[in-house]
Symmetry: C2
Subunit: 412 residues, 2 copies
């Protein structure tokens, strides 16, 4: 019998205990040992839980219990999760977490402690919820050089954008609907400002390229400035606005960014439904591989956590060799140098003159029009150019027209 | 250093040596040992190979070499692959194969030998080429009851159907084009008759449900009878004809089938491009998860083989616990009992009378029409009914109209 503890009895934590209690036998059959929840850590009381007697408010009861060999951390946030996880690893316990903030901020350090103590630190659930991503990237695509990763990794913003795209709903109304449905937090900043997606691409880039990428090194734009006009111009252009988290190899460094982008309708990412996530990975041998599924939610995320716990049981002697070294951001190229075509929406009294100026300044641009456009709107797509080049030219163009929006065209 | 042998230097085998030779260092870094190809078995000569001196025509040089601990089998077919693989496992060598025919026919036996000898028998490349499927199903979704699996698992037939759908090409012309492009064999029976897709769903069902499913137990229909009219009616109905390999839980048994089906355009499987594969898996906790990518081809398949070799190196002491027990087909429910709605295309002098008869015999049917239909055509979709019920009613209906095609409506 393997004894474990679960720290946190919120949405994901209660899902973890639910799966472990309801599937005890089938799980025991697969890992050849029973997995027993000895302790659940939460400051709240849950008298109706079938294992109410195993709840504790005292972390020391977990970390000092030598019978507990695997600890699940599903509290979220850095405090006190980081201290607790670190102490558990240092005490020689394997840790499984769904906490992307923790892995993105402290992954390299925690992996190094896990290696030193010869225990596992697993975090499949931290990216893409139930979708198998970490393990396939690490194992199945191990023989590949990963050229690029592009994904829709935040279901909340994808839901909001889809409501704007399909139902012509404003950003504010779509956000309110997402909150009413429980897809968005009351404080939605981490989602809509792009930080959640950024953390996930940081974890994936760290895993694939071997050097920790901290969120602070990654240029991140949210979707709060995306307007219904932008959504319509994306459609007119032949695609959709999506929040894309992207990492690509450039020599021995990487280009990593999280930002709303125009995605062509030819690309699978343009069609990802509501709260779903999808990741496209391009390896030099494998070609493009796609992973799709629910990126969040109680049972989907919990099922990924439990699978990691099972893997800890199967790998208790020979630990998983997931590992990356610490980094200081030197491997992330400055975003000003990333090359994209750009969408520009501007207003001018004389739109023909503005478009002529655009062609003069940016080089040949593709004019786009939308049904019901205001007479003052001029929208176009530039050729490919670096972001610094674009901003310089945009400043020049702003002398002739009032720039309303600029959005990158995704290269997926 | 780990010494390996590669049996077969065809498309996949040459890809395996290419990846191992070109990525020696990065692979060694990941598995902490160099992987050295000591022998390549092929009856042909390859004097231009950079490792031409390591080729042999004699299997005994591999099986009797104690320094070789991992053997890659990429010969295909059962003879002599089965004997060779069995002997290698019995000699205590781990085996990695891309040979779906072998795994579908002999998986349970070979896995039992591997367990007895405490070595690995891995076959990620046998289903879905480069797409990680076996490992995610086995590990990442381990905490789930898998309710159903539906996939497009054969790229050749998907290419042919897409040419019929998008370019109005006849089956024969599309097959010829697939052959010219090297997507289809000169003897295309295994693909177009559905056997290849059937073998793959057998492997997945064995893995997920724990009992070997032999291809003989699975009702299999190919795409040779799919006509351009069927393709057009599928479009008119709101979907596309696809060759679907499907396994679903029904109590403690399974419904497993490979057949062309109408797939609604709401479903991702309706849009899978050309030679790509896609698998949708529904777990009780995870919800639906999708896997997408190139299901065949030299480097994609070889990259999955090499990843398995790397896994053998990492798991040389503690073997992978992939395992299923032998079966005699008793867990596969008879296909006559599977319940689907059905598409029927018939010809009659009086189509209104034929449709009225259809409503009488099958219960309320949905009439479908296609542009440019012959005046004698009557097409409709029945409600859901068992296949045996359908065939009985179809025999009755055939008294009033000439039945041209019947195709299942997929339940994905």
């Amino acid at each position: 019998m393997i004894q474990i503890a679960v720290m946190g009895h919120g949405v994901v934590g209660s899902g973890v205990t639910e799966i472990l209690l309801n599937h005890t036998e089938s799980i025991a059959k697969k890992v050849k040992e029973e997995i027993y929840i000895k302790k659940v850590l939460d400051l709240r009381e849950f008298p109706d839980s079938p294992i109410a007697d195993r709840f504790t408010k005292d972390f020391n009861e977990i970390v000092s219990d030598d019978e507990i060999s695997v600890v699940v951390e599903v509290m979220g946030g850095l405090k006190p999760a980081y201290d607790f996880v670190k102490q558990c690893l240092e005490s020689g316990k394997s840790v499984v977490t769904s906490n992307k903030e923790l892995v993105a901020a402290k992954g390299a350090e925690l992996l190094a402690i896990a290696e030193e103590k010869n225990v596992n630190f697993l975090f499949e659930a931290s990216v893409g919820g139930a979708i198998p991503i970490i393990r396939p990237l690490h194992q199945c695509l191990a023989a590949n050089d990963i050229e690029k990763i592009n994904g829709i990794l935040n279901g909340t913003t994808n839901f909001i954008l889809n409501k704007m795209i399909n139902d012509n709903m404003s950003f504010e109304d779509a956000l309110k609907l997402a909150q009413d449905k429980g897809y968005a937090e009351r404080n939605p900043a981490a989602d809509i400002e792009g930080h959640d997606a950024c953390r996930k691409i940081c974890i994936l880039a760290s895993l694939v390229y071997g050097t920790h990428v901290y969120p602070e090194s990654v240029h991140t734009e949210g979707i709060t400035k995306v307007s219904l006009k932008d959504v319509e111009y994306a459609r007119a252009w032949g695609g959709a606005v999506k929040l894309i988290a992207s990492a690509r190899k450039n020599g021995d460094k990487q280009e990593i960014i999280t930002a709303p982008m125009f995605v062509s309708s030819d690309c699978q990412l343009s069609n990802v439904d509501g709260v779903y996530n999808e990741l496209l990975v391009r390896g030099d041998s494998s070609g493009t591989i796609g992973f799709y599924g629910r990126g969040a939610g109680k049972l989907p995320t919990a099922s990924a956590v439990v699978a990691d716990v099972m893997d800890c049981v199967l790998h208790k002697d020979e630990r998983r060799n997931i590992m990356w070294k610490d980094g200081s951001g030197e491997n992330v190229l400055p975003y000003e140098g990333y090359v994209n075509a750009m969408y520009v929406l501007a207003e001018a009294d004389d739109t023909d003159a503005a478009l002529a100026k655009a062609n003069e300044i940016f080089g040949e641009c593709e004019k786009i029009t939308r049904p019901g456009a205001d007479a003052r709107e001029a929208a176009f797509i530039t050729g490919e150019l670096s972001y610094s080049d674009f901003t310089a030219k945009c400043a020049e163009f702003a002398k002739y027209a009032e720039v309303q929006s600029t959005i990158r065209i995704a290269k997926i």
